[in-house]
């Protein structure tokens, strides 16, 4: 049985955008810092609107922020 998982570059992008803190990002996308922590560590898969908001905050396409890996594909 194959596995699927979502990886992301949020940490890297935060540091490329003037050392943005998790709290700053959370405030910009309208969630709590805990949600950013969980998303960044890959423990929470955000909804599409939230994923787009995060990408828009960094000014990059969504696929530069999130990568979907599925061994079955």
């Amino acid at each position: 049985m194959g596995s699927e998982y979502l990886t992301n570059n949020i940490r890297k992008l935060r540091f490329e955008h003037g050392q943005m803190t998790q709290q700053d990002l959370a405030d910009k996308v309208g969630v709590t810092r805990q949600t950013i922590i969980a998303t960044e560590s890959g423990r929470y898969a955000p909804s599409l609107p939230l994923a787009f908001k995060i990408a828009q905050t960094f000014g990059v396409p969504i696929e530069q922020v999130f990568q979907y890996n599925n061994e079955n594909l």
Binding site: V31, T32, Q34, T35, A38, T39, R43, Y44, P46
Partner: protein, 141 residues
């Protein structure tokens, strides 16, 4: 700590407080061997209903402040609480049936007691699920 976690801790502390208060009351009423418990119940029931309603209203307004992850956790916790409640009622009902037999009588107070115990258990499970889930997602944060 998020609003959801605070709410869960408050619920958990409230549940523990309730057990301690009920235990103390039971102990005292048995010690003085009086009918005070009926008076206490008459006083406690409306207070409990008003307090429960106030908590419910407060939890609705708090729900609006939650973000999508917290709402998901809250839904999962509600689901676990619902299953706990249903399972408890089923096990307790069938337990009584098998233990006391099909044709025996059970005291009437046992039925509301079962429902109240079920609600109490569901509340405990809901709070515990929220705390465990939040801790699980925030590991290595």
């Amino acid at each position: 700590m998020s609003i959801l976690q605070k709410r869960a801790w408050i619920n958990l502390a409230g549940a523990v407080g309730l057990i301690v208060t009920a235990g103390i009351f039971l102990e005292v009423s048995m010690y003085i061997n009086a009918q005070v418990h009926i008076l206490f119940l008459l006083l406690a029931l409306p207070v409990g209903i008003v307090a429960g309603f106030a908590c419910y209203i407060r939890s609705i307004s708090a729900e609006k402040k939650l973000d999508e992850r917290e709402k998901t956790i809250s839904r999962k916790a509600d689901y676990c609480a619902g299953i706990t409640f249903a399972l408890f009622l089923a096990i307790a009902s069938f337990g009584i049936f098998f233990v006391s037999g099909a044709k025996s009588n059970v005291p009437v107070y046992l039925l509301p007691l079962l429902v109240l115990t079920g609600i109490f258990l569901a509340q405990l499970v809901e709070s515990a699920t929220i705390l465990i889930w939040c801790a699980k997602e925030q590991q290595d944060g």
